[in-house]
Symmetry: C4
Subunit: 294 residues, 4 copies
């Protein structure tokens, strides 16, 4: 019974499209990645007027080829899952849909579905899932740990930056006024963040001596506080780095060693799309559905 | 005797307005926080000409609603404290007063009390007190510790930045001169800080080859010295982080364990407004006044 | 047999030109370094119109002197190696050739070989090889180790920066549009990187309130994420620093002590040009060729 | 014999002017510090045209008062030292002289000694010596240690920045050309450093797509390498911080404890002007001259 299920085409399709542990699954992901990058390059080229004028037809054909390939991918994703609606309303499901339809919309209704096409850029986020498989996993996890560990501290810090931007922005609006480009408080606060973060576009710049003096304080403050998140992440990262080191040592003589050694694979449940299954798992840890292995 | 005092309305009001350990106290703080943010958004919208022209009346009514709510808060704060003058002349007392009166001033005397309204931005600082309650306490304290620990070093560093800005600013004034935007030494020093902190507005930029060469030195210097405060805070933060870790371990078997474990609450003395009382404190540590608990 | 080989002129020439352990080898390197820097200064001066007009002849003569000296160096390098083709097609071989020929090309064919002359700047890279000899070795190796150790993490990080630049760049193109300087998506992505890295040229700057709001998010993001590579390198460098410290201690009582203590010299095999030979090596570790010592 | 020397006026004057361990010595230093700051503010105000026009006479008189006070200080410094020439040709001796004479020059020869007046800014450097006395000593020494420890590494790093600036600057000159503001290679290299250090003035900005692409690489490189000096200083500072901590512990049970505990004072030899004498020193460690204590 188990065996018959295991090798039907739908299970296989699910494995190829949603997972990346099998050679064909990896191949599909790499092909998809190239397709996404190509589609983004296409959108970029279209937005350049001089190129669009010259190669409009070529780009138009390329656009249709990618749209059709995306459509096929979308349909395959739909039929390979047991509960298609779950995919349709998932984050990537919505992005996949919205980045596939613009050409159809433009064909049937004519006119500006251009905006939707740019949604394809969000498809790039899928890259992280695809690349996660490889050895990058360890590196990015350690990074993620240190960022999560310092999350609250960084939030408190960003909050302090925001409050001081509002305070200084309001002061600068009063000091410089509309004549010098600080036309209203929101713009003044925006300028203040531009200065605090040391970006300094220069489209707005203080003209009065008092304004320049306050700007000096803002800049030195910004220069000084850049040290804070850096210091936090440094320390947390060093800590996370040590912990990882210790963990891998302890694992052999402590409790629950399997839990820590067993690496996660890229399987995704064909019913609820849950991920992060450990190797050797037979059932989905979330909905109890049978997990299929080749 | 104690019991009759404990439950009179003034004590309760004090608890609600100045403290945040009781549900009603928390509710009041959250409501106040929302009111402050709303009032700041209102001030921001008023400063945008296009919005002010369209919705002038709506904004005017909103301004009066907030002014009346702030007035009520101010009066409540006054009557719930035993020594109201202490509140009136405290930092937040002055800010509360100044951010409440502009509408009355505008009503009676007409004309530009606009400037005072922007003082409301300073009310945002109250946010820190309100948010301090939650779990952020631990995080921000550790941050504060590491900043305090590296305070002197950062001051020495900022001093060095200032001195080199004056020296380089003067040199650039001589090299570039008024023709290239370096109209006087203070402006030249201001430009130097803009460059050292890597903000680089670009409203003033060196034009002569020699000036550009000196600018190169300033920039590389600024790029190099950004490492110093970062390094200091990193090291101090790591130290503070270790200390916290050790402290929590030692606490159980060392002297004065209560002092270290007992968390501070948000009570504030109804007589002298002193804060940072430990849980279970019966008297104000500063003026001896009885502290009331619900 | 060994002795006769050792002291023939070709071996000596190889030692002088390719290595830097003998006094004459060091002298040659220092002389070459000065020549490279002089040639780069010459190219720089030529590019300045006002100087070129005034001293055209002097610069032209200087250019020929350097070209001839470079030609001699190139020929010497050719004849002192056993397999000259290996040098010709090595990285520095190609750079040496390309930075030597432009004057000859200009002489025979007239017209713009100017572009090739600027290739000399790449010759500066040789500086690293020359300075590596001295005590800088230890310092830069430790640096290299920490950069290599954090390579993958920094790549993941840079990848995240790139993806978010594409996403935010596309959004800004839609929000701001061509009227405000965001003429196409590639330019918009370029602007996004300018902002994320806190460079902020200001040639393009958001004009709409929504665009400025998104810019705020980009800047705060950029300000926040600058902490990540810094934190990584800090931690890795500290680790590398500790390791070096421990290694030098362990070396005396652990296995393979010679391997770790013996410093590399600057010898290069006269047959295959392989470098990184340990002191006392008699044969090339790569092709088995005899290594000659003075 | 010792006693008669000890209390003569010249010794006392030396103690007051050159040292800062006695109350009168401290007072002199504080007074001098205020005078230097006042003189710099005066120079700054003079450079502002609108202020100079209004208060020209007041500023002129103030200038003379400061000049006379500086003259007195200079003469006192001369007569209180045994070998005046050593002071005259020391760094501060030259600065003191040059910042004192401009008013005399202007009086006798008329015309622009303005430039020399600005040399007073360099007098600010004396501030470090004066402030060193106080508790800042510990802090700044630790800072100095970590900067010295990472000196070579930072030099190697700065060198890499310089070489890549020359390489990228030359490339940008070829790609963008004179039409887009990259008028010559030195200017192009200057622009490259402006970009690498994330200053980004924006007076010159790439206009061609290829130039913008290369700029992206430069910026990401600059963003990435800012991590390197920060990481180095962080690690070195943490090391220096640990060492200090360990040192103060070890001092009590190790050899040479006095050498490490005994703090330096601010005495300076009246003969050779050497500084950094330890407390209780009777003779100058450099020239053997008797050191005088009150």
């Amino acid at each position: 019974m188990e065996a018959t299920n295991k090798h039907n085409w739908r299970t296989k399709l699910h494995e190829i499209i949603y997972e990346a542990d099998t050679p064909s699954g990896k191949l599909f992901d790499v092909f998809l990645l190239i397709l996404i990058i190509l589609s983004i390059i296409l959108v970029m080229l279209e937005s350049v007027n001089s190129i669009d004028e010259k190669y409009h037809n070529t780009l138009y054909i390329g656009e249709w080829i990618i749209t059709i390939l995306f459509s096929i991918e979308y349909i395959l994703r739909l039929i390979s899952v047991k509960k298609p609606l779950r995919y349709v309303f998932s984050f990537f499901g919505i992005i996949d849909f919205l980045s596939t339809i613009p050409m159809y919309l433009a064909f049937f209704f004519a006119g500006g579905a251009q905006a939707l096409i740019t949604l394809r850029a969000l498809r790039l986020l899928r890259v992280f899932r695809i690349l996660k498989l490889a050895r990058y996993l360890g590196a990015s996890n350690q990074l993620k740990d240190s960022i999560i560990a310092s999350r609250i501290k960084i939030l408190v810090f960003l909050f302090a930056v925001m409050v001081s931007s509002v305070v200084f922005g309001t002061i600068m609006y009063l000091v410089e006024g509309e004549a010098n480009g600080f036309t209203n408080i929101p713009k003044s606060v925006y300028w203040c963040i531009v200065t605090l973060t040391t970006v300094g576009f220069g489209d707005i710049a203080p003209q009065t001596p008092l304004g320049q003096f306050i700007t000096t304080i803002i800049m030195v403050l910004g220069y000084g506080i850049i040290a804070v998140p850096t210091g936090i992440v440094s320390a947390e990262y060093a800590k996370a780095s040590n912990k990882t080191h210790n963990k891998s040592k302890e694992v052999t003589d402590k409790d629950n060693p399997e839990l820590k050694i067993v690496p996660l694979n890229t399987q995704s449940c064909s019913s609820c799309l849950a991920e992060k299954h450990i190797d050797g798992a037979e059932f989905c840890y979330k909905c109890g559905e049978v997990l299929h292995h080749e």
